[in-house]
């Protein structure tokens, strides 16, 4: 601080008192409105949690192939439970990455515009922001912990309350620890570097996993004892009690460090963090990933040269799609998912079964819808492109549909081929499989078109509006009306996976074709409208 700065004195005024005054001023009706808003959200969260827990048990049920026979591949070396320590580490990395993305110390747009430029002490603003970040960290990590414990107790088939209590305390404390570490990193301006390092940690974990897979494959005794020891200790009280005590000490220390470092967090960082928090909250409330996982301009910039040769020979609309796919790295999610599925099926006990294959197709259906919609959205939702490119909207839609079908065919063929190679599905009815993949890809294209037509919404008004809960429910209903038909078009594939010998019934073909027809709308024009009556 220079001499002139020392002469200036910060005003002790705390702008929060004006907001508190406004809250006290609310009449009964306004208070009741506020209460009912909170009540509806809490109720929705409880219902969503109940569904989530059921979905997790369903997932475990399918992965373990309960009631159906599984294939034993020569590369199978471990069980799902033995992978749980890795899952623990990955969840901690994901929580830390999330908080580095969220700031975690940030202020909303109003506070950024009205409070940050005031010559007042930033301590109260920072204090509130840090408290809120720590609470969010604690709750997020506890939520992850609950999910993890459900998976573990589901796998083991037994429940131990004391272990659950200590584990939950440890998860809550690790949330505080990770959030305060993120605050410290934010104060040093190290978030991008830390995020890169965490990305490398994930790669390192995968490499270690691959190394252990090799060691177990060749029956190295010490590797076997390490894996068994780690997997058996994850539900032992003797592991969680010291962990809770250690995490308590670490979280106290890190919170103190974060508090000491927090005055170094600048207004610009808080403003950017606030914007990220708004995007993340809006995305979570609307089940819309576009706000949070769009490729960054920096990563697109790095891939600026990619696809130049390939795209230069294509028509302009195709060029846009190919470049969005390559430079935006939009194929990463699909490829990553396919690799993960193959690795799980090949190396984990019991996963190579038809039920889990069905689950993998189901997840691929949702992934492809979101993934392809992100790529084709400019051709579908930006009317001004028709003028820029000199092409009609229908022609652009046709290109988008062809691209979507092509992309879905590749992804589905890869998954089906991989599962067939591992013996999980039989391709005895080869032509039926081919026809099913084509129809399902049309269904995927139809769902992607629907998803891409979702308009950007003003999250600020959605969150603040008096009818926000109703609006969000409407948004989610719309989304369901896109995704449920997409899943329905997969019916022929599900039938082939579960019962390869009996073929596909005509009703299933009927349902699938009915929902896939929408993809043909740009090609059939009026004929399609006539078909719909």
């Amino acid at each position: 601080m220079n001499a002139r700065e020392k002469l200036l004195q910060e005003n002790k005024f705390d702008p929060q008192q004006l907001l508190n005054r406004a809250k006290r001023r609310r009449n009964f009706s306004e208070r009741f409105d506020h209460f009912s808003d909170v009540y509806v959200w809490v109720l929705a969260a409880v219902v969503a949690l109940a569904y989530l827990f059921s979905a997790i048990f369903g997932l475990i049920f399918a992965l373990l192939g309960q009631t159906v026979a599984h294939v034993q591949t020569p590369w199978t070396v471990w069980s799902l439970q033995e992978l749980s320590p890795v899952l623990l580490m990955l969840s901690a990395i994901c929580v830390l990455r999330l908080f580095l993305y969220l700031g975690p110390v940030g202020v909303n747009a109003a506070k950024a515009d009205w409070w940050l430029p005031l010559p007042i002490s930033t301590r109260p603003i920072l204090g509130r922001s840090i408290r809120s970040a720590l609470l969010t960290g604690l709750l997020t990590s506890s939520f992850v912990g609950v999910l993890w414990l459900i998976v573990m107790f589901g796998l083991v088939g037994a429940y131990e309350p004391l272990v659950a209590l200590y584990a939950l305390i440890s998860f809550a404390l690790s949330g505080v620890l990770l959030t305060s570490l993120a605050v410290v990193l934010q104060s040093y301006g190290l978030q991008p570097r830390a995020q890169r390092w965490l990305g490398r940690c994930i790669v390192a974990a995968i490499v270690v996993l691959a190394a252990f897979w090799f060691l177990l494959q060749v029956n190295i005794p010490w590797a076997i004892s390490v894996v068994e020891g780690a997997s058996s200790s994850v539900l032992r009280l003797s592991a969680w009690a010291p962990a809770a005590i250690g995490l308590l000490c670490l979280s106290v220390l890190s919170t103190w460090w974060a508090w000491k470092r927090s005055p170094r967090i600048g207004a610009r960082d808080m403003r950017v963090a606030g914007e990220h928090q708004r995007l993340a909250l809006g995305s979570a409330m609307q089940a819309d990933t576009r706000g949070a996982v769009e490729p960054s301009s920096a990563s697109i910039g790095r891939r600026r040269r990619r696809g130049n040769k390939l795209a230069s020979r294509l028509p302009v609309a195709w060029r846009i799609l190919v470049l969005r796919l390559l430079r935006g790295g939009r194929w990463h999610a699909t490829l990553g998912y396919l690799v993960m599925v193959m690795a799980l099926v090949a190396t984990v006990e019991q996963v190579a079964n038809p039920l889990s294959a069905l689950l993998f197709y189901l997840v691929l259906c949702l992934l492809l819808t979101i993934n392809v919609a992100g790529t084709i959205s400019p051709l579908i939702s930006q009317p001004q492109l028709t003028q820029h490119l000199g092409q009609s909207a229908v022609k652009l839609q046709r290109t988008a549909v062809l691209f979507a079908v092509f992309y879905c065919v590749i992804a589905l063929t890869t998954l089906t081929g991989g599962l067939a190679l591992l013996g999980v599905v039989q391709l005895s009815n080869f032509w039926l499989w081919g026809a099913a993949v084509i129809v399902v890809s049309l269904g995927g294209a139809a769902a992607s078109l629907g998803h891409a037509q979702r308009k950007e919404r003003d999250w600020e008004s959605l969150l603040g509006g008096s009818t926000s809960d109703t609006t969000v429910v409407m948004v989610l209903m719309n989304e369901a009306s896109t995704l449920i038909p997409a899943v329905a078009t997969y019916a022929p594939l599900f039938a082939l996976v579960l019962s390869p010998e009996t073929g596909i019934g005509w009703p299933l073909w009927g349902i699938s074709v009915l929902f896939a027809l929408r993809a043909l709308q740009p090609f059939l024009g009026r004929a399609y409208a006539g078909l719909r009556g």
Partner: protein
Amino acid sequence: MQTGQSTKIVLEARELIIGYQQRVICGPLDLQVSAGDGVGIIGANGSGKSTLVRTILGHLSPVQGTVEFLGLPVNEDSLAFRQHVAVQITDGAFFEELTVAEHLELVARGHNLNSWKQSVSEELEFFELQQVAGLLPSELSSGQRRKVLLAATLIRPAQLMILDEPEQRLDLRIRQKLYDRLAVLRGSGTTLLVVTHDPQMLRHCLNHAFLLNEDQGEALHSEAGAQWLER
């Protein structure tokens, strides 16, 4: 470029290249603004006017070059910067639960104005907002919200005032009142840096223009700037 005659340099940008991360929008630019100067930043849409303002305010990092306020690098976290630089950006966010008067009270008390009640009432009167003083931002028109933002900028003392298209959405009478007031402020030593598309503003209350054109900055007299806007 030296835009002012007086010796005290309030704001100085040297070899400034502006943009987002490494994507260059405009530059290199050189700009010196002296105390009591009124500089209008002009240029076509997309020429980088608002980006320049955001860089000067420290909201964006320069791709290259430096910006100094009173001889020190611009730092919006510095107390001196927050005390002496008043900013009105294009569309500010509002607190949904605070009334118009409370928004102004927030700024006045934040700047430790002893007679903040009187200042709030004067600003409400100047911008003809008395009737809506008790209303929430969601109940205002876009023009009224613009007036609140301007009132919040003018209610506080400042050595440098930065305004981004203040004339937008104001009716002609209020616009004229605003120009008169800015001219008086400049006469009393406040430095003005204004992004504008209005030639009348350049003629009435500013004495220089800084034209952003073809990725370069060019210093002009305010009259020449006004003529460029009218061409």
